[in-house]
C-alpha cells in the first residue's frame, strides 16, 4: 500500500465513530465571517496600531505622495531604491529629481543586487486597522516578494480606501487574489525578535525599517 493510501486508511479507521458525511452538518461552526468592527475612526485606528509597532506613518494628500517618498528615503538615509512595475510615473519623477538612484526589476535583479539597494517603494493591497497590518498581494506596484524583502528599508504607500477595520474584512478583500493563486504577504511593523530574554529587538532579517505613507 502506498503511504498515501495507508495514511488515508488509518484516518478512516480512526474516525469510524463519525456518522454524518457532510462536515458542515456534522460540526456546525458558530461564526459569522467577514464582519467589520464598529470602529468610529478606522484610519486613525490604523495609524495608531501601525505606529505601535514602531513603524513611521505619515498622512498625505494624493498629490503629495512623491514628495513624501523623497522625504522618507532622506530621513531613512537611503540614496538608492528599487521601484516595482506599476509605480506611478509621477513618484519616480519626484525621486529622480531628488537625486535618488532608481533600480527597475526589468530584467530581474539578482538577490545579490537587491541586497545592496538601500530601499524599496511599494503600494499595498489592503490595510487592516485593528491589528495594524498591511497586506501585499504582489500585484502591480508591489513587485515580486524578494523586492520587499532584501532592501533594508520599505516605504509602503497605502490608499485610505484600502484600509478596513479588521482581519475578517481584510481576508474578504484578499480572497479573490488568494483564489487566483497570488502570493500574499502580511506586514505588521518591521521584523522583530524577542528571542533573547524576551527583550524586543526591532529589525532582524526583513527590512529593519517600515515607513507607511497613508494617502487620504
Amino acid at each position: 500500500m502506498s503511504a498515501r493510501e495507508e495514511v488515508l486508511s488509518r484516518i478512516r479507521k480512526a474516525t469510524t465513530d463519525v456518522k454524518t458525511v457532510d462536515p458542515a452538518l456534522d460540526v456546525p461552526v458558530h461564526w459569522t465571517y467577514g464582519r467589520a468592527l464598529a470602529t468610529t475612526d478606522v484610519l486613525g485606528d490604523f495609524v495608531e496600531k501601525v505606529e505601535d509597532y514602531k513603524a513611521r506613518v505619515v498622512r498625505v494628500a494624493s498629490d503629495g505622495v512623491g514628495d513624501a517618498i523623497v522625504d522618507a528615503l532622506r530621513e531613512l538615509g537611503a540614496t538608492s531604491t528599487v521601484l516595482p512595475d506599476g509605480i506611478p510615473d509621477g513618484w519616480a519623477e519626484s525621486l529622480s529629481a531628488a537625486g535618488v538612484e532608481i533600480h527597475r526589476d526589468e530584467p530581474q535583479l539578482t538577490h545579490a543586487q537587491l541586497n545592496v539597494i538601500d530601499a524599496v517603494v511599494t503600494t499595498a493591497a489592503v490595510g487592516m486597522a485593528d491589528s495594524g497590518t498591511i497586506a501585499l498581494d504582489h500585484g502591480p506596484g508591489q513587485g515580486r516578494r524578494a523586492l520587499s524583502l532584501l532592501p533594508d528599508r520599505h516605504v509602503c504607500v497605502v490608499r485610505s480606501d484600502q484600509v478596513v477595520s479588521d482581519v475578517p474584512e481584510g481576508i474578504a478583500r484578499l480572497a479573490p487574489a488568494l483564489r487566483a493563486r497570488h502570493p500574499v504577504t502580511w506586514l505588521s511593523g518591521g521584523s522583530a525578535t524577542s528571542d533573547i530574554e524576551l527583550s524586543r529587538v526591532e529589525g532582524v532579517h526583513g527590512p529593519r525599517h517600515l515607513w507607511v505613507i497613508l494617502v487620504d
Binding site: A14, P183, L187, T193, H205
Partner: protein
Amino acid sequence: MTTTQERLTPQPPSWLGIPPFPEAVKEELAKAEQRKNLRHATGTIRTKRLLRAAEVDNWEELRTAAAEIKDRVGRHLDTYLVQAEKAMTEAGVTVHWARDGAEANRIVAEIAKAKGVDEVVKIKSMVTQEIDLNEALEQEGIAAWETDLAELIVQLGHDLPSHILVPAIHRNRSEVREIFTTEMGTYGTPAPEGISDDPGELTNAARAHLREKFLRSKMAVSGGNFIVAETGTLVIVESEGNGRMCLTLPETLVSVVGIEKILPTIEDLEVFLKLLPRSSTAERMNPYTSLWTGVTPGDGPQDLHVVLLDNGRSNVLADPVGRAALRCIRCSACLNVCPVYERVGGHAYGSMYPGPIGAILGPQLRGLEEERDRALPFASTLCGACNEVCPVRIPFTDILVHLRNKVVDYKTSKHPTIEQGLMKGAAWVMKDGTHLSSAQTATRTAGRIFKDKWLGPMPIPLAERWLQARDVEPPPTETFRQWWKKNREGENR
C-alpha cells in the same frame, strides 16, 4: 554515509538522555538563573496575552469557532486532505505522503540529493524537530541550518529547545554571547570582534551570519501553520523575516506539514489569524505572515514540495477524547500559564513539545511503551490554567485524566501494582459510609497518640515525600460523623 565523517552542523544532545519527568525536574529546579529567566519570561508574556485577548470583544466566540473548525477538519480529515492534495497539485506543488518521521526524512533527503544541494536553510518548525530531520540530513551529508534566532542559539549551543515559541528561553544574554563568539565562526560568518551581550548587537550578528546563508542557499525546508484545503494555500506565521527569506530566495522549498494542519476555506483564516498571534507572542499581529498557493512564475521558489506527515497523528485521532489535542496550533499559551512549566522549563518533559500540550500530545503521538511517556500525563496539578487560555479550547485537564486512566490500564495489565492495591483499598473504604466510619477508627487512634502535636519530617515511605517540606496537623480524636451523631442525631435523620 560513514559515522566517522566530520560533522557539518553542531552536534545536539539527545532527548533520549533525559530521565522520566519526576527525576528530570530535580536538576532543572536547582538552576537558579533558569528559574529566574522562566519566571520573568512567562510572567511577562502571561500579562501581555491577557491584555491582547481582552482587546477583542468576541474573544470567547472566536475560541469556540476555532475549536469547531478544527473539530470539523479532524472528523473529516480524509476528505480535506484529498481536497488539499488536489488543490496543491493543480497549483504546481508536488505532494508527498509520509507514514512516519523516517519516511518524511527520506523524502526530504531525496529531494535535496536530486537537486544536488549539500545544505538547506530552515524555518523554525516543530514538526521537523519531531522527526529529527536535521540529524537525518546530517547523516546524508546535508547540512541543515536553523535560521530563527532562538533556534540558531539552540543549534550553535549544542542544545535542545525548551519552549515551543521561544526555544532558547532558558538562556540569558551572556550565554548567547558566549555561544555566538565561540561557535559562529566555525559554521560561517563569525560574530564581530568585541561583541557585547546587548540583545540588539547579538541580533545583528545573527543577521550577518544568516544573510550569507540565505543568499547562497538553493533549498529551504519549512513546516506550515495552516494549509487551506480549498485552494491549497500554505500559511506561515513568523516574526523575524527568516521565514520570508527561506520562502522567497531558494529555488526549491519543501514544507513538512502534519496532517492536522488543514483549514477548510480561505475565510477560516480570519479566525486563526486573530487568535494565534494574540495567544502566542501576545501581539495584535505577528510581524510577517506569508501565504502562497503553488508556484508563481518569476516569483519565489519554482520547485515546491509538501510532505503530509502522519507520524502518530492518526493514532491520536482514533481516541475520541484525546483527539482534541489535534486542534493545537502551537501557540504555547498553555506553557506560559503553566505553574509546573514555569518552574521546571521545557527539557524535563523529554521532547520538543513541553508543558501541558507536551503532556497530552507526546504520549499520544509516541504511545505508552516508554516510562518517560507514561510519566507525562502526571506532570500536572490539574490546575486548569491551560484550559482557560487555549485559543482552540483544548480540554487539557480532561485529556490528562483520560490519559492517566490509559497509563493505569497499561501498567496494571502487565502486573498488579502497589498503587493499584492502595486504590482498591480506597475504593472499598469509600464504597459506603459504614466502611469509611470503620476506617476512621485508625485516624482517631492516631489523633489520640499525637494529641495536638503537629507531625514533622519523618522517614516513612511515601509520607516522607509530603513531610520533607510540610508539617501535618494531627487528625482529630472525633470525626465529623461522630460530632453529628452526638449533636444532631434525632433532630434530622
